[in-house]
Symmetry: none
Subunit: 215 residues, 4 copies
DNA sequence: GATGAATGAGCCTTCATTCAT
DNA sequence: AATGAATGAAGGCTCATTCAT
């Protein structure tokens, strides 16, 4: 076709800007309403352009969604990738958890986008999960197992530790509506990230500390 | 809300049975596709009745959704309600976490229904969250604070501990697709619940144990 | 689905009537504008129902089109099927040509529907053409060849004779607009079918007569 | 109608070349999909230019279509124009039929373009049909009538003879999809034009031969 | 209680055409 | 002469809901 988005042709400035605007507009909507609950109209309106014009940049709703997920995923896993086998376990975990919590507070919509996709059965990103993510988890589980073997942390199941950290940190983004309903103003305080980070670190770091491992 | 449509007459057996069938059919669909992503057709088909007949029992899609949430919520919070101020903290937490994990494994769809609703901003259950749930959390936070004061557990922030337990246990239901993609057969093993329970308990109980509370 | 058109469920009277009305409304439109040039709106309006209601009977535009073609094809080839090997060639051809011309005059839209489909490359009925129609043509070509061998008609190529008859008779339906433009009132006369039949028979029957076959 | 867009300036070479390219690209598409079924995108792509650029040469889709028809019509009727009152009827008809068949085989798309237009009710060329074509047919019918009067051919209705020749010869272009489906490789043979010409001439010339006119 | 029939509103997408450069 | 960008107007189809029986 004579579509403008041909890869061969370099994207113009307007194209880049508009694609960016569309993605930015789409993120919070997909994050809240899910794929099927989101309408192109909503996105177009939020991006300040007409629906056909939006479809000039992304030919299908699906393309927007996939582009968003792709971009999110990479960024989302960056902190885990940084977990260093040779670092100090406590420092490493502290950094990891801290980074994840910061992302949850600063980009809660990205987290929710991802949560929605997985809740729906991960129709789009399943291939990624089964290959890249799986490999990453295995590699980092190995790192944690290494720490356990060396006696540097308590004997915890590495994979479940990763899941626990994911769950705990992303919870503040994915269930923000609930947290705000329960905590009220406290959740809106400027210090809520700090408070949360301290609380989570206290439990998790203590949870993996060697002192007295429990059954 | 979930009253029979003709308040004058008591619900017949067929009415009760059919309403039940509809709710049972609707749960997994709402849980997977979210409110807007679910069609009445899907539910009716799964419930084995015609669309108009389904609408005879629930006049609007919203009613089904609300009835489901209402029923789920009560059940969902039962374990937390059982947390006893005067019990042994470790035993209490062990029971709570165990119960929550069991629910996540046995009724993952209820968890996902709830997750979807909250991800969407909790449009329907917000009032409940702001009143009942809030009160419950405050009460149980008080229980935990009591334990902390008595030195029976480490000095953790009670509310965040509750969130951490919610997040961690529900994660196995809400992100099941991801967990299965990452773990493969291991997640489908018959022992996966046991394995998970042990791993989670190990970390969380250790995390709140007094030995050496950390910053 | 809970579609009403399930084959298992017998069609009700209304269904039969409405499907019939839709097909009747669709025929002249498809015949004139072709598949892509026809809109469901046009058909629905002509059939006196709303667009969604029409789609309640035929779930896709394509289904209407295919149903029409299927019905037309059978009827359309009936005259050829009657060509009898043991009949008198002149009588047989006279009947065949007469029947085809009558159909062209009485149901020109069916002819045009078919012409449109074939002009478009026969995307839908190609399988039929390659199997059933091919077999029929081969069988009837054999009949004509038989006549030629017996010296009952001139030595003509059977297949091309069939094509010539098709072309000539269907021309009065397919090119009616042109014929009317060229002939004016003459083409609208009540006797035009008779006149045409006589003229075509004169040429074709003479054309296959044995007297003096030409190169 | 097919004037350059800026009448003040004569068409440049590029203009002429591009208009030509567009028409060449448009012919097979209009011929196959009809007017409404054809998109400017398809034409532009095939012509190797952008849609807006195409519209620089032809301001509307309709203009392309009309230009094509106009050009085709003239060419299409050339053979008939050559039918000479004073020539030998058999020779004249042989030439006419031969020329028409050659055109059908060599430019089937032009034939199909025309067929589509007439099938659609001749919305664009009706004026032409009612004036020029009508006059031409009347003139040539007179030629044939002259031959009949002189006893040089059988007593056939001139107009219907013309229609029969049109129908029969154009059939091989317009219904090519069907002919190929029915005949298979035979229709793709290099000799198929020769074979067809002989078969058609045999029937038609015999059909108008004087030997024994029939009812 | 149950279902066939009907529909307004909405959604994704296509398309001819225009505008600005 | 050419093209990237933009859009109004459909068009096919879905869906929640209502009506009538």
């Amino acid at each position: 076709m004579d579509q403008p988005l041909r890869p061969e042709r370099p994207a113009t400035r307007i194209q880049t800007a508009n694609r960016e605007a569309i993605l930015a507009a789409a993120l919070p909507i997909f994050a809240t309403y899910g794929y099927r609950g989101t309408t192109i109209d909503q996105i177009a309106k939020r991006a300040g352009m007409s629906k056909p014009n939006l479809l000039y940049y992304f030919r299908r709703k699906e393309e927007i969604y996939e582009a968003l997920l792709q971009r999110t995923l990479t960024e989302w896993l960056a902190p885990l990738r940084m977990l260093e086998r040779d670092g100090d376990p406590e420092t490493e975990l502290r950094q990891y958890i801290g980074a994840k919590l910061r992302m949850s507070f600063e980009q809660p919509e990205a987290s929710r986008l991802f949560a929605n996709e997985v809740l729906n059965g991960a129709p789009v990103i399943r291939p990624f999960l089964e290959t890249d993510l799986r490999a990453l988890v295995e590699a980092k589980a190995e790192v944690i197992a290494h720490w356990v073997e060396r006696g540097r942390i308590a004997s915890v199941d590495p994979v479940h530790l990763i899941f626990l950290i994911w769950a705990t940190t992303q919870h503040y983004a994915d269930f923000a509506a609930q947290i705000e309903a329960v905590l009220g103003d406290r959740a809106k305080s400027r210090d809520f990230l700090t408070e949360t980070t301290e609380a989570v670190l206290a439990i998790v770091l203590n949870g993996v500390s060697r002192a007295e491992a429990r059954s």
